[in-house]
């Protein structure tokens, strides 16, 4: 069963968000990394780039497939996880920790209210699996 921490918020595209003041940390969920399999390449925006809620901000690739990642929030990229360039398997091993993708300075903090709670996301993944 996929790990879905209670203190995070989620999207239906399987990203997670941790809000820290006016910054949101974004990554992909345990469910997502498990479905993808071994992550071998991650493409991320550059610090300073703008991202828009529900628009693609990067991609994550397994041996077999490429998946786009969609930004849960709007704002400016404050930092990206440079370590993933050489150690993309961190996404598999620690999706909510060392496998984080980007930090976004929120331009519209109200957007986070529309994200899914852990319980809602769990229901969503169960429905999707059926």
């Amino acid at each position: 069963m996929a790990n879905i921490p209670d203190d995070l918020q989620y999207t239906k595209d399987h990203e997670w968000v941790r809000v820290e003041g006016d910054v949101a940390v974004v990554g992909i969920t345990d469910y997502a990394q498990d479905s993808l399999g071994d992550v071998v390449y991650v493409e991320l925006p550059k610090p300073g780039d703008d991202v828009t809620a529900n628009d693609p901000f990067g991609s994550v690739e397994s041996v077999k497939a490429v998946s786009e990642m969609f930004s849960p929030v709007s704002g400016t990229v404050a930092a990206v996880n440079e370590a993933l360039a050489d150690e993309s398997d961190k996404v598999n091993k620690d999706p909510y920790g060392e496998g984080w993708m980007i930090r976004v300075k929120l331009s519209n903090p109200g957007e986070v209210d529309s994200l899914l709670t852990a319980a809602e996301y769990e229901d969503f993944t169960k429905a999707e699996a059926e």
């Binding site: 399999g37 071998v40 991609s59 041996v63 077999k64 490429v66």
Partner: protein
């Protein structure tokens, strides 16, 4: 699980594609390839029939030998690639791809010469399990008295594996030493489980069950063609670097004239291997750019887990089809660098 030619097949097992791939290179991998089709050819003219519809020369086979070959169209393009097994002068077995078995059957039965030979689609009679990797011979030997070490590459013998009548063939699709075992389909699970046990499945150095994704990355590193990717009815054997299975001197066969002509005039495009030299992964269907021109398409592109590179195969105009040629690949709108390299990308130490 994915649908593959009508078969439900696992893309990967629990260990994941990379580990499955590496374990096969270092120790052993077990593949359920029962989806492959089998067509039995029997009769006094069995060899003549097969030689008429395929490009390699089946008359060169001896009993207990197999060869790689292709069913060809009159244009010299490929209906399917296959293995031809010779049991006796009047008994051959064709092992074909799953997704093309019906097409092959229709093709062969509608193009067969009026010869003394009987064809039978026996695909559902057989399971096929492939045990591949440097430890394969030791693992399989635990289940059989057959002298496995004496079987030469592309040869086979008949006998019992775990008490079950089988065909044991020293062939594979991974670039490793290994065997393919054909037996009664009802016995697949028994042989599968015994091979896992014999191979210490569960230990760090034991055999791993491998899915379609590892089968694909292993064959790609080994530079082997996959039907529907490198070869199909739009590419000729010569363009696909498969001139070595075009025996133009063996007598007439479907496609011989076209292939002979193309051999004389030369091919306009050719299949090459390449590696990506910048960050990014090349994928099937992406375009190759040389000197700013879109000149070709990728037939297979993937990370290569053992080589730790991103590699692929593509068709490019013959003028560019040489080692060291710099290329660019259009990866979803972004051009990244690459270079044409020699294939196979990976060759095992003998």
């Amino acid at each position: 699980m994915v649908d593959f030619g009508g078969w439900d097949m696992p893309v990967q097992y629990r260990a994941g594609t990379i580990e499955e791939h590496l374990r096969t290179r270092k120790h052993a991998g077990l593949f359920d390839v029962s989806h492959m089709g089998e067509i039995d050819v029997r009769g006094a003219d069995a060899i003549a029939l097969v030689n008429h519809v395929t490009s390699n020369d089946a008359s060169k086979l001896i009993d207990g030998q197999a060869q790689y070959s292709a069913l060809t169209t009159p244009d010299g393009t490929v209906v399917d690639d296959l293995l031809v097994y010779r049991f006796a002068a009047d008994h051959l077995l064709l092992v074909v791809n799953a997704g093309t078995t019906e097409k092959d059957w229709d093709w062969i039965t509608s193009h067969r010469p009026d010869a003394q030979a009987e064809l039978k689609n026996v695909s559902t009679d057989y399971c096929q399990l492939a045990i591949q990797g440097p430890d394969a011979v030791h693992i399989l030997q635990k289940l059989t008295d057959l002298p496995l070490a004496e079987i030469k590459y592309y040869h086979f013998i008949e006998g019992e594996v775990d008490g079950i009548a089988s065909i044991v063939s020293r062939t594979g699709y991974t670039g490793e030493d290994g065997f393919e075992v054909y037996a009664d389909g009802a016995k697949a699970e028994q042989i599968w489980n015994k091979l896992l046990d014999a191979g210490n499945y569960g230990s760090e150095t034991g055999v791993l069950p491998c899915g379609l994704a590892a089968r694909n990355t292993l064959r790609l590193e080994a530079g082997m063609a996959l039907y529907g990717h490198e070869i199909d009815e739009s590419t000729t054997l010569l363009e696909a670097n498969l001139g070595w299975i075009c025996k133009l001197g063996k007598g007439d066969f479907i496609g011989r004239e076209a292939l002979a002509k193309q051999k004389e005039t030369g091919v306009e495009k050719r299949l090459v291997g390449f590696e990506v030299t910048e960050r990014g992964i090349a994928r099937d269907g992406q375009e190759i750019v040389i000197n700013g021109e879109r000149v070709g398409k990728i037939t297979s592109g993937s990370p290569a887990p053992y080589l730790k590179k991103n590699i692929g195969m593509a068709y490019v105009p013959t003028e560019f089809a040489s080692e060291g040629q710099e290329i660019q690949i259009d990866v979803r709108g972004k051009l990244i660098g690459g270079r044409i390299v020699k294939t196979p990308f990976y060759k095992r130490a003998k």
